[in-house]
Each structure stands twice: as C-alpha cells, then as structure tokens.
Point group: D2
Chain length 341, copies 4
C-alpha cells in the first residue's frame, strides 16, 4: 500500500531540518519533497551532511503531496499555506500564523493584519494533549510555540482542576536553537557562550498562546500571566518554572502527582516525574517531563517542565500532529529515547 506522501516547506531552518530528520525514517509516510528557496537545486546531504542518507534534492516547489509541514517564518507561512489548502493538501503549520484564535491579536503581537480570518477560525491549535480528537479531523493544524507547549503542559492540570489562583509566573530558560538559523548578534557564539540574559520583557510572542489556552481551561477568574524567557548557553532544550498560589493549601504532594498523572494518562509523550527533571533527559526526543511540587512554606505550586525545543517544541510536535491527522499511531517515528549525556 502506498504510504502517504508528505512534504516539508522550507527545510533550511532548524525546524525544517529537524522535520527532515524525523520524517526521513518515519515508518508511516514517505518524505516526498523538501523545499527551500535559496538552496533549491542542491542535494539535501550537501547542505546538511547528516541527512545525506535521505537522498533528496531541495526543490522550489513541493510537488504532489497529501500533507505538508510548513516551517516558514510567520506571516510568510500563510501565503504558502493558502494554495496548498486550495489543492486539497492538509497542512501542519509550524509557524505562529494560525495559533491565535482572535484575529485582533495578530496586529498587536505580530505586526500584521491576518489575511484569512476564516482559516484562523478553522485551524486547530496543535497540542495533542489538549485537542487530540479535533486534530485527527483537522485540515489545518497550528503546531504550538516552543515556550507555549512547555508552559501549557506544566500548568494545564492545575488550572483545569482549579487548585491554583490566577496569579501565574512563568520563567523559562531556553537553548539558542529556538532563535533559529538566521544570523544575529544575539545568537553569535561569543556573545551567548558563558552568558545568560532575559528578553521579551515587554511581552514575548508566545505569551498570548499561553494565555489563550490556559484561559480556555478556566475562564473565570482568568489567569493573569507574566512570562519571561531567558537565553542560556546551550543549543537545545527549554526548562520552564511555573509559580502560582494554591487555592487549597491542604493539597498534598501525592494528590498533586495523581492529578497530573490522571490528566496525562492518555498522553504517551508526557512523563510526570518525582525528581527535578533536566532538559538533557529529553534531548533529541519528543518527550516532556513534568515535575509538579508544593512549596508548603508559602502555599505555592511550583511546576518544572522540560522539553527539547526543536522536537516537542517544534518538529516532533508537528509530526505528532501529522500522525493524528493521518490516523497513524500517535508515536510513529517519534519513539526514540533522548540522547544522554
């Protein structure tokens, strides 16, 4: 039986090249094409020597595919997706173009007016742990932002269960690959190595995703979220530390673990762990490790979550969404353990 033909739109960024790694050996689909503007015509293995085994040439056009994974910069993504949908191609968008439900958020957070608000209304936010069934039937899935998935998974069980009040602080630490392959002084080796800094203090673009999803889980009282991302000297990984006041200080650690484990019982990539997790435990894999804990001295919930920002935070999440859309096992092509050390 012919396997579903899938294509990667814009393979040359870090999300795109990671999609190629995961799809090049995926058991349920055929990676039929990889596109890239500047590199069109070159062998994939010449641009990315670790992918020489895939044997594809980068093209300008995806050709005939059944499903496309689009890893364009935001705003450009929509332009690439519209013709695909018109041809009947299903789409997983790795960009931010279809993540926010409210069209008014695009001018505010991304600086452009959304050209296709009706598609925004149709798109499903691609976090399988919350929207598994909707994703299966979707024509267009908006895969999550890397910080968003770490923050939402850390807090969703607590917010939904109402065990915390609305005052939420999310402090995230990310490796540098999240900033992409485009050059900037911010990602220049000698500037980043042996350094840590906060950024996005005026409001990072993944904040509205987090607010949107946690508010849906508990609209009243709406969560009041401060989110500060930090850049730390490593390539891959996000560790998120979330803080919130407990509404019922008598909840114990065991009840908390049970709450989280129940919430993620059907989610193969989430592991609720009892020791503080390390990003290294998920390096190169699609897993998210979550450690919920209580601070009895202050009556606060502290949750630590870790992911690989390019896998569960980008390409792996997209493949997981694709698997659901195609009726494949959710874990297909994503079973590899993390690489340690």
């Amino acid at each position: 039986m012919a396997r579903t033909r899938v294509g990667i739109i814009n393979v040359t960024g870090y999300a795109g090249v990671e999609l190629a790694r995961l799809l090049g050996r995926h058991p349920g689909v055929e990676l039929a094409s990889v596109t890239g503007r500047s590199a069109a015509g070159q062998a994939l293995g010449d641009v990315f020597p670790h992918l020489a085994g895939i044997g594809l040439t980068i093209t300008a056009d995806p050709g005939k595919v059944d499903l496309a994974l689009v890893a364009m910069p935001h705003k450009e993504s929509t332009a690439a997706i519209i013709p695909l949908l018109e041809k009947g191609v299903r789409v997983v968008d790795v960009s931010a173009d279809f993540r926010l439900n409210n069209p008014d958020d695009y001018p505010k957070w991304y600086g452009f007016t959304h050209p296709t608000p009706h598609l925004l209304a149709e798109a499903v936010y691609g976090i399988p742990e919350l929207y598994r069934e909707a994703i299966k039937k979707a024509r267009l899935v908006a895969s999550t932002g890397c910080y968003a998935v770490a923050g939402i998974l850390a807090l969703a069980p607590a917010v939904k269960a109402g065990i915390i009040g609305p005052d939420i602080i999310i402090d995230s630490k990310s490796g540098v690959s999240g900033a992409g392959r485009s050059l900037s002084l911010t990602t220049h080796y000698s500037e980043v190595n042996e350094d840590v800094s906060a950024y996005g203090l005026g409001g990072h673009r993944h904040l509205p995703e987090i607010v949107q999803e946690l508010t849906k889980l508990r609209p009243v009282p709406a969560p009041v979220i401060t989110f500060v991302p930090h850049l730390i000297p490593m390539t891959r990984g996000i560790l998120t530390t979330a803080y919130a006041p407990l509404t019922d200080g008598k909840k114990g650690q065991e009840e908390l673990l049970t709450l989280y484990r129940d919430f993620y019982r059907e989610s193969p990539f989430v592991r609720v762990v009892t020791a503080p997790p390390h990003t290294k435990h998920t390096w190169g894999s699609n897993y998210c490790h979550i450690h919920p804990t209580l601070d009895p001295r202050t009556g606060r919930l502290i949750v630590i979550s870790v992911i690989d920002n390019l896998v569960k935070g980008a390409a792996g999440q997209a493949v997981q969404n694709m698997n659901l859309m195609l009726g494949l096992p959710e874990t297909a092509g994503l079973e590899a353990a993390a690489i340690y050390p």
Copy 2:
C-alpha cells in the same frame, strides 16, 4: 608605610583562589599567606598556574596577619575563625557560618547547632550596599551568599520603599562554579553541559539570608518569598529574575529607575541599567547590574540582576568588605572592568 598583612584561609577552593587573584595585586594590603590543608607545602603557582606571579607557598597556618579572609566550608569555618579572633585578627568570613542572625536557623538550614551564638550576634552581614557603616567598625563580617547578594540587591529598593506587596518570587540561574571545586556528578562536565535543571526546591540555603534581609527592610507585612535556583551550563555568573505585585500600579518606569538610582547612589559597584543585562557584562568583575521594570499588563514589578558569582557573589564582596574594615577606598583592588566577550 607597612601595608596591612592579610591571609587567605583555604585558598584551594574557587572562592579562595579568586581571593588570591584579587589580593595578589591589591594596592592597599600585602597578601602575606595562603593556607590549604591538602596542598600545604606546594607553590601556589604549581597548583594554580595562573597565579605563578604571586610567588607564595601554600602553608598550613596563616602566620601573623592583621586580617583573615576565611573560605572554608560552612561549619568548619567557625572552628578556624575562633582562634583568629582570639589573637586579635579581624575576619571576613566567606562561608555561611555567621550570616543568619537567629541561632535557631542553623540546625534547620545547615544541620548543626551554632557553637558561638554570641559571635553570631556580633557579626555584621557583609553586604556593603546595606551595612556600609557597620562593616567599617566590625571585627567579624559575614560575607553574603552568591544568590543572596543578587536577590537582595534586586529587591531592596522596592521592598524598602513599599512599592511591592509581600508575594515575591525569585528565580535564579547560576553558573556551575558556585557549586565549588569539590567533585560531584552534579558538576561533572558531561552531565551539566547542554543541560539546565532546577534544584533546592525544598528550600535552598541562601533563602533564609534573603528572607532575613528583606524582612529587616520592611517587617510588616513580612515578605513571603519563594526562591528557586537553577544550574545552567556556564562557569561564572548569576542572573536573578524577581517578580512581585506592585502596590501602586500607577508608578511609572521613570519613577522606578529614579527610586533604584537614588538607593544605590553611594554604591560604586551597582549600576542601574535601562536594558536587560547579561551576566557577561559583569564577568570577572565586582559589578552588579540591575534592571528594574514594570509589567503594566499584570501590574507586576520584574527586576533582573546580574553578578559574577565568584566576585561580587564571593571573593570580590569579601575584598570590598575588607576595604571598608581597613579604611581603604571601597573600590581598591576591584576596579577592573568585566572581560567581554
């Protein structure tokens, strides 16, 4: 005129060796001796080749000195300090043994009963920005913990002025040298590199220092502080992100800057900065850069502070305290700019 003779007790840890670097070329004192148990008898430059220029030999005993900087592990420090004080030697303690005012805190946080509570009562907490005058006259100064100085300097102006409520979250990111030179899997290269993790979730030992000092600045309502330190893959530097609710949401960014600048007007090593600071801006130096900012969407104060954990967080702070005790310029031997990149 003879310069004051000073000695370093336990030069072989990272705080000790950094003290030697700073004191080896200090214009106002003579580094007369450096002690170390296991390395006694060896040339300092054989153990630490970068200090070959100092020309001292490590000894078991400090000999005759006027002031000692003690960089022993906690609990052992007291034992080393008592005979020094008895001989009339003034002491800067780099350990935690004299930082907490309440003797009851020692069994709780450090697991031992403090042998000399009367000295606890006498010791001055060694943060010059708060206790400059008391330090000048002190016989025994308890230099601050690395996380403590970053956290206290970040919040002191806001707490003192009462512009924030008591709910304070302090999220710190530290380089690995803070864990010292003793071996552990936690500081094994392959475990730490390309990794980030939280630790001390049950209560880190620098928390009581922070609580003690911020509570002194505003006892009612007492601050309720959660502090979570994180280990990130770099050698030196601490970045602290502190969050608290503003009591008066109408305070503007300019007023905030003015408040902080006024507070630190007489403090030569604190720079209040208007852009998010990087630990690299203070690498190898005694400076602390502080960036206070408002999150108008949530009515919260966010303050970022950065230091070099081995300088302003340990050895440099100790030298600054020593300078005050000896009536030297506060900045003597500490004027070097950070090394960038």
Copy 3:
C-alpha cells in the same frame, strides 16, 4: 521466532547507558538484562530518566543471554568475560582488555599482566571496516578504542595503498564524555568549560591499538606514529587530524578521493566527504565522516575524520560488531541520522 537475548554488563557508565539506548529499540535482538553493581535493584528509568521507556530493572547478574556486551573498566572486564564465555555466551568487549594482540603490551600500557593470553589470541579486533568476515564468526570481539577508530579509519586507505611514508602525526580533539562517568578534576565542569588542553603526552593507551592496526596494513616500513589527544569543551565527538608525507607528490585530489571511496565501498557507516567535516555531522549517530586532502605546498596528506565517541567510538561500534556476529544486517538499530544542530 524468538529474538536473540542480549545483556549489557555494567550499564551505568556512559558506554553502558548508550548501549541501552541503542539496544532498547533494536529490531533484531531483545535486551534481556542490564547489570550494574552499585545500582542493582533500581529501575533503569530511575537512574537514567531518558530510558524510562525500556522498563528494565538493573540487576547484579545478566541471567540467561546469548550474547553479552561488556562495558566494564579495563582489567575488570576480563574477569567478567571468562565465565560468560565458559557458559557459551558470545561477547563483545567494549573495554581494552582484548584489543592488543601482544600480551607484552598489557604490562606496558595498562599496568597488568594479561591473565588469559590464549583468549587474546582468539579475540578479533572489532573494527568492521577491516575485519568484517572474522567478526561474523568470532566468539569474542574486542571493540575498538574511541581514538583508535577515528585514527585508523582516517589512515587505513592511505597506509594500505602505500601512498604515504611512515612519519605519521595524529592530533585528536575529543569531547569529555570519553573520559567516562567517574568523577575527576579533569572532567569537573568549571575546569573543562572554556578550556582546551593536551594530555597523554607520554603515550596514550589508544596509541598501541593504532600502531598495531596500521602496522598490520603495511609492516614495512613500519609507521612511526605520534598521537596527541586533546580535551575540548563539548560532551560528544572526536575530530582527528592526521598528517603524513606523500610518497608520490603527483597524486591528485580526485585520485585520493577515489582511493578512499573504493576502500570504504562496502562500509555503510563511513562517508568520504569533500568538505571539512564537523563532529556535529555525526552527533548521536554511528557514522564516520572522512575528508582526505592534499597539502600541495608541502607534499603532505592531511586527513580529517569525525565520529561520535560514544557511538562509533564505543556503543554503536559494539552493536555493529554484534550485528555481524548474529548475522543481522550490519546497520540494524544504527540507522538513525545524527542530530543537528
């Protein structure tokens, strides 16, 4: 059909844990047991959270297995292997205990008299690119040292073809994981980060392996090899730069590439590349990229080779040897591409 049962002896070092990652999802064998002295009785996933999916418990004894992969420290390895062989278990040894053909080399390089010289004579040196057929039939395979495989693969085609003279310099740069999981100041994070150093100047233990194998390829004139390893601040990867005088300066770059490509035509994990390779191109994979080039100004051959020291340099090489011994496809369980960036 029942899959072959294999066991890992000493799973708690870096080679052992990497074997578990590779064998936990190997399509042709069943990972039946993992042993470890200090950790016996603990769940593998508690000690190594990234391997929680394997679901094994660490034991003291391997139980009934058909083949064992032994990742003990040298000298201890022999003691573990003898009873296994006696029970009819085939063995891949990841240690150095059976790599050197000449028993006299053990006192000299490893400081002990080899207890079973007859097994030394029987053991096959486990570099599939040179000894594929012998490995298939072997009862005991001595998998190669990490530096040795990088050095031998870089030079074997040139030495065999006689295009270089005997004066060979091998300068290698290795990540820190090669030094293992045991603690030492040499692998303490703050010592290694932002540092590079040479070591083993008096003769590194992988040198006799390299000399042995290259001499076998061309005994006269015997190669005269200097090998200097360097420790660089990264976790995984070895880059080897090999230098030798060309015997025939008129050889061109194309002939050189052809020579290397022909030599490795049947070797699925060796890629002869035309641009300087990066260790990152092989990170987490079993590939070795080799770049032979000419320095026409001096009439020298320069060859660069890169591997992941824990995969092609240790665990992956062992699995590749195991595959051959068991009649499985040589690439089984090892097809994963490197992870980049």
Copy 4:
C-alpha cells in the same frame, strides 16, 4: 606630567573593545578617543555595558593623539593608517596589513595589491619576544596574528637552536572570538556549540607570518610548515600543538627546558612550564605558557603553547608593543593574572 594620548581606531570589534578594556585603566597613557563608524555618537558604555566606567563617547575621528592602535579589518587598515603617519602619529596596527615583508604575499594571501610597499619595508613585526629593540624605535608596528604568535613562540627556540629538522606540523585549536564580531553561520551559536571542525586547509592567512618568522630564525634548510587551525566551542583561547623531528635524539628533557627558558629569560609574558598547559591558565591575561617535550619513542619534539587569542593574540600584544614604543615598562597595564576557573 601629561600622559601620552592614545586612540583606538575601530573600537567596535572584539580586538577594539579589548583594547579599550586594557587602555581604560592603563597607568601610563590616557585613552583619549575611540572611533567606530556605525556606532559614532553613542556612549561607549551604551554599546559595551562593561566599559561604562571609561566614560568615553565613540567618535568618527580620533582627534589629536600621539599614538593610535588600529583595529580595522585588513586592507581598510592601511587606508586609516596612512593619514595618521602623515600627521606624525605613531601606529600599532592590529590588522594584517603590515605583517608580511614581501609585497608579493598580499595578492596571494589577502587578495589585494599592497598600496604602500615602502611602509611594509619600514614596519616592524610586532612580536616583542623577537624584536624588542626594533619595536622601541618603530613608527609603525604590525602586531602579530593570533595563531602566528602562538606558533612562533612555541617553535622559535627550537628552530633558532637548530635542534629540529625542517618538517614542522602546527595544529592549532582556537576559541570562536578569533573570528571576530561579524556575523556568519560559522560563528552562529547553535552551529559551533558542541562541535569541532578544521578549516583553512587550503592555507590559512596566518601561515605566511609563521613561515616568514621561523625562516628568518633559520633560513637553511627552510622550514616546511603545515598549519591547520581548528574551531572549538569556547570563546577565548588558542592551544597550539607543534610537531617536528629532532635532529639530535639524544637531547634530554632538561636540556630542552633550559634551552626554552634561556630563550625567554627577558620575556615577562612567556612562562615555560613543566606540565601540559591549559588555555584557561592564560584566560583574560597577556601570558603565553609553553610546554616543550620530547617523544622519545619517535624522536620528535612536541611543543604545546597556550594564549588568550584576544589578549596576547591581539589587544594585549598591541599594548605590549605600545609600551615598548613609548618607553614604558613592557608590562604596564598588562599585569593582571588570568581569571580561573
């Protein structure tokens, strides 16, 4: 007495900013101006927060200075230097524009015809350990390339004494700051971190400097040098490993040390050491540590040298040259020990 006024031309690159750090607190000169095209008009401390203490504003023109340190890119440097010399300003050039004695080398190695061959003839190659007296009297000093100083200092004593034959291999490992502050994929964090690669295999631009200087020390037989630089994941530091055949195998280790120590007896920044040196031993300082050793098995000399590429390899070397030109103590402003760890 008025101190000599000096200016930095192009302060915004890594060599320039490091010059500012060193000259901002130099006891013998006044840093009168710092220039930079794109940043002209900005406060130095706004562009480089660690230099806020210097209090200068970046200008387009150096104004009136007695000596200029020029840190322009090669080729542009000459254009900046000519008018300075015409005004009677003495110059230390940190670029490569005046390093090669033979004008024919410029088209070959740098791709341009040298516009002022007469100045080439006048310029003194700025390695104080070889040309101290000439530098003192020079009007124009061409400060050395970072790889060149590490390689030349490692080999000069052996070459001059004739204890090695002409076949020399120089294998260098450099931190990334040597590639400067300009953006490129080669210095993009996620590409460099956890990676090592060789480059310049076709001939690096520092090779002709090394050949020129070692050949001057022993013209017959002229050294035949292969030089391969490698980029390793750290910010600062170069470690050079040099290999050469000994002409007289009976030389012992003690004689070798004596030869090197005698050669550098008058050189305050060179330390001949008896253990393999680490770049960390020189981090942030102007020192060069050299470890000459014998490989008795092969009859070869192996020399390891380490420097901080931005200090002894660039800015510190320039200041050392300036000190000599101005009749100041050679070590003025450069006495700081390395920062460890």
